[in-house]
Amino acid sequence: MVTSEPTHAIEIRGLQKAFGFTQALAGTDLLVRPGESRALLGRNGAGKSTLIAMLTGLVKPDAGIIRIQGADGQVHEGSGADSIACVYQKSTLVNDLTVAENISLGAYPRKKWGAVDWQGIRSTAVEQLTEWGYGHIADRPVGDLEPLEKKIVEICRALSRGPRILLLDEPTAGLDEGGSHELFAQINSLRQRGVTVIYVSHHLEEIFKVCDSVTILRDGKDVLTAPTSELTVDKIVNVMAGVTDEEASAQSRAKEEQARLVQRREPGEVVLEVTNASVGHRVLGVDLLVRAGECVGLTGLDGAGHIQLAQAIAGQLRLDGGTMVHKGKPLGTGNEIDAINAGVGFVPEDRHVNGYVPEMSVEENATLSIVDRLRSAGGLINAKKRRRLFNELSGTWAIKCDGPTQAVEELSGGNQQKVVLARALASRPDTLVLVHPTAGVDMTAKESIYESLQSLRDSGKSLLIVSADDNDLAICDRVVVMYKGTIHAELAAGYEEWELVGAVQGAEEAAA
């Protein structure tokens, strides 16, 4: 405890942390005034999540000072003060417990004799969730929720603690537009009440909506701290990547040049044809066509059915009605293996659930769907072949890791996502179904992912990008909007943003 008048809600000096040979943080400073809302930015693997986890005490620093101003106004040495609430990048929910209990987890209201007050738990949960329009999920086990619902529960838990300091690590990854709106509204009202916020995101436009100032991390050091008003998205991206503005504009000129040289081919014959597809009460008789060399966007609000449709195409869900034809052959339903064999690649919605095998190496995860094709003459895996293939993939997706044999779970969130993308592509599918493909991926890497996807399309592959992210949809040739289980609108490339927003909300004029 320090006696002097606290001037910082968070005071971090010279923070260091190494994992094995990876220096995640290399002497970072961070000073945040009470009531300030600070954006913490940086490329994938810059050390943002590590810093957040150190503030809450989940990761112990190797060196450096952390001081946090507690609820009592006193300054606490070290991490993990009670006045902090956090939404981590990765889910920290207990699947077997209900939503309500997860929201009160570890801080249960009590009745007489110290018994847990179930009614209190429930009303706290319903109250929080109702703000988001999710009051009805309070009694469900978290394991039954969809990723978006989980994210909301996670945010509700942090908010329900009445924190003085709120840490948000990519809270909007996986949220839809409505969810993001609600989040920003709540953050802004907390700011007015003097809550200190640390906000991590790769959606830089959000920074300007909710943050006073920005700190940029690069390779574990803070390289820039400035008020938001003095910055632009381009400036931030350049600092994150560590290039000067001149270098950056030279690069983008070169890219534009390249883009002009590449000839866009016209979409070819129909590759994927979905007719009258139904899945439960979510997808109600949908028709969808995807052509060779075409990139189709698919979007909608939560519950619109777009994600279920994508999962059905990838064999993750069984169709209750309708047919799917891929390359002229009927596609089996509810069988992911059939889908892969038929040439449909898939990037799942929640990478932690079925995206990767945590303790397996980056290289093996990336090539998991094609192990059978890596055999040498003796029937055993040809490690050289695998390494060559991985190097190709990791180049394409700019995966930052210590080496091909590092375990995927040790990677930063964005890099894990890139591994999942690499895996989907490894099987060289004719059709790629990607759900939230760039969730948690930084701006620069996103650009290169878009480039890769576009070049795939140009080489004649069909892409179906399921996303709520405007940037993801912007690379599509057309965007199909679902609403309440049916297709509501279809927008050709070059649509105005308001058109998309309207269509997603089910506005009639957009459908016209």
Partner: protein, 347 residues
């Protein structure tokens, strides 16, 4: 934001809200009582096979009394399993704890230490030993992050060895009346063993269901990282859970000693398999975070009933084990077929 008609806080699901108390916890009654069909079937079969099966005497004195010690150890193991760990060494506590207590009390001529401990002093030492065992297990698992299976297996071997060393392989009998009372006392005509089992089971059930610490154990077992992230002191709870388990097991060992009026060097050996069987059949997950005491009770009862039917029946000794295995396998499949084949929700 969803597009359905907006609803006000608290209002949207009145019907559901009323049931909240029971529905809000993960372990719904349906899951807790999943074994009831299998138990019912077993009881019908028992009643058909033997006229003595459905007598009060058989149910109270044979099935329940026999299940009491097992049931208490199952309670201890279930708490540990729900918390996400494993404790094999409980079976050796069932052996070592009463052996130590009796050894301290008995004169050298009867194979004891001859130190003339009073019964209460011996019991104090015995519970102290259980606490130490729990502390060692818990610390190695929680602080050193060693695997619970292998730590408690080593502990099991160590304690079984201590029992053997202490007793020199002998059975100690001629126990003081305080020990025997745990086996032979009756309240309202029902053996104290049943009362104690009921007491411990109900206490554990209430604790796990409604005490904040119980809920934290569920959270810890369900997702240790998430529990830690929510500010739950997982290290301390882990150690606590191993200590509690060892104390309960020591008590169960004492009850077993009271019942067989002696302590043998092999007391408890092999018990842990049955304990796991009962717990897992009763719906306690080996991966932690799932299951309830009521479920565990059902598991204990089902095994107890099957055992009892086998004893009452005329199956030849040589084949009894095979039939037992077959019945358990059958019960599992029957329960699968009878139960709602609840799949995880997909949409």
């Amino acid at each position: 934001m969803t597009t359905q008609t907006p609803t006000l806080a608290g209002a949207p699901h009145k019907g559901r809200a009323a049931r909240a108390g029971s529905r809000i916890r993960s372990s719904s009654w349906a899951r807790e009582l999943a074994l009831v069909p299998a138990i019912a079937l077993a009881m019908i079969v028992g009643a058909i096979l033997s006229p003595q099966f459905l007598t009060a005497n058989n149910i109270l004195n044979n099935i329940l009394v026999t299940s009491a010690v097992l049931g208490i150890v199952v309670v201890a193991e279930s708490i540990i399993l729900i918390s996400g760990y494993f404790d094999l060494s409980l079976e050796s506590v069932v052996g070592l704890a009463p052996m130590l207590a009796v050894w301290l009390v008995l004169p050298a001529a009867s194979g004891g230490s001859g130190w003339g401990f009073s019964v209460w002093a011996a019991l104090a030492v015995m519970f102290l030993l259980s606490i130490v065992v729990g502390l060692i297990n818990g610390t190695l698992v929680a602080k050193l992050k060693l695997n619970a299976f292998i730590v408690t297996l080593a502990m099991l071997i160590l304690m079984r060895g201590l029992t053997m060393g202490l007793s020199g392989g002998q059975t100690l009998s001629g126990l003081p009346p305080e020990f025997l009372a745990l086996g032979s006392t009756r309240w309202f005509g029902i053996s104290i063993q049943i009362w104690l089992f009921a007491l411990i089971l109900i206490a554990a059930a209430v604790f796990m269901r409604s005490h904040p610490v119980g809920r934290k154990l569920y959270a810890m077992g369900g997702n240790n990282a998430a529990a830690a992230a929510a500010g739950i002191k997982t290290t301390r709870l882990t150690i606590g859970v191993f200590v509690a388990g060892a104390i309960i097991a020591a008590f169960a060992g004492l009850m077993l000693t009271g019942r067989i009026a002696s302590v043998t060097a092999s007391q408890g050996d092999g018990l842990i398999f049955t304990v796991f069987a009962a717990a897992v059949i009763g719906g306690i997950s080996l991966n932690g975070g799932k299951g309830s005491m009521i479920g565990a009770l059902c598991g204990v009862l089902l095994l107890g009933i099957i055992q009892n039917i086998l004893v009452l029946s005329q199956v030849p000794s040589f084949w009894i084990e095979a039939i037992y295995g077959l019945i358990i396998l059958g019960a599992l499949i029957f329960n699968y077929l009878a139960g709602s084949k609840q799949s995880r929700r997909v949409v």
